[in-house]
């Protein structure tokens, strides 16, 4: 059975404020004179390794698992799943 790495990125929905991202932008990047940067959003990434028949199934299993265990809170967060060959 092939093995895949599946990255899960959890971030606040756009309408939810992100004080961590705002602080990084205003108190670090903009103070450092990088005015071209317009936005920073913070998040959390989990890296899974999983055996599955193919990438699609690997992603589906991880996404189902994220919903089953509330790995992200669907009220305030959204999740992005990306898979890679190991």
């Amino acid at each position: 059975m092939p093995s895949f790495r599946v990255n899960v990125i959890i971030e606040n929905k756009p309408e939810i404020s992100d004080p961590e991202g705002d602080t990084i932008l205003h108190d670090l990047i903009l103070k450092g004179n990088h005015a071209s940067v317009k936005k920073v959003r913070s998040g959390k990434m989990l890296k899974f390794e999983i055996e599955a028949k193919n990438k699609k199934l690997a992603e589906k299993t991880i996404l189902d698992l994220c919903n089953e265990f509330r790995i992200y809170n669907p009220l305030v967060s959204r999740v992005t799943v990306e898979s890679f060959d190991t």
Binding site: R70, I71, L75
Partner: protein, 226 residues
């Protein structure tokens, strides 16, 4: 009458809660380990504050999947009084027993300070001895205490009188300054401030009586006191 205090790895207000319940308010209290199913001979359950599982992933989310919480969901359906304080509130939200979410404080800091909350619902088993708009001096101690709910959920909370406590001023970015809510039925209450740290004059420099009424309310709802 017997009250259970559920203990998770990382709970750190469980003994304070037990002390207040048993020594101050003379309620028979037992500590319940989260991995065990809760026996049926309990009349109220309290989830204490702390850092269950070190707040890993998100405060309360891992504890929300414990065997004790499965039992508490059934007890909640039957109308048993259930109170979650601080991390206990976060666990109730993550378990789906209360709506909304608790996010990092807007300051991004752990906040440990005295504040005042205002009673907005005095029909719950934990507020029935308090008056509407009564102020309670009480401490908070949390990093993820910013209550958030979307507009529709906030409308529902207001309509059903599920907002139990609000802060007297904006302190952490909580929607509508919410400090505590209950479920639609009113028997499940979650609050971020710590009543167990405010219910005795020896540890409350302002006035212990209002916070003590939270426990007196429980006594009343259990039929132990008037």
């Amino acid at each position: 009458m017997k009250v259970g205090v559920v203990v998770f790895p990382g709970s750190n207000c469980d003994r304070d809660m037990q002390h207040v319940l048993s020594d101050v308010f003379k309620l028979k209290t037992e500590m319940l380990w989260h991995e065990e199913e809760i026996p049926k001979n309990f009349d109220a359950i309290i989830l204490p504050g702390g850092f269950s599982y070190g707040d890993r992933l998100r405060a309360g989310v891992i504890a929300a999947h414990s065997p004790a919480i499965s039992g508490i969901k059934k007890m909640a359906e039957k109308g048993m009084p259930i109170l979650g304080v601080c991390n206990g509130f976060q666990i109730l939200v993550e378990a789906g027993l209360l709506p909304g979410a608790l996010l990092k404080n807007t300051s991004l800091s752990f906040m440990c300070k005295w504040t005042e909350i205002i009673v907005k619902n005095n029909k719950t088993p934990f507020t029935n001895k308090l008056k509407i708009n009564q102020r309670i001096p009480i401490p908070i101690a949390n990093g993820e205490g910013r209550y958030y709910a979307d507009k529709e959920t906030l409308r529902t909370l207001k309509k059903n009188k599920q907002i139990v406590f609000t802060y007297c001023q904006e302190i952490n970015g909580s929607s509508l300054n919410i400090a505590g809510i209950c479920n639609k039925e009113g028997n499940v209450v979650g609050m971020m401030p710590h009543p167990e740290r405010a219910a005795e004059p020896v540890i409350n420099p302002i006035d212990a009586k209002p916070a003590s009424m939270i426990f007196q309310s429980l006594l009343k709802s259990l039929g132990v006191a008037q």
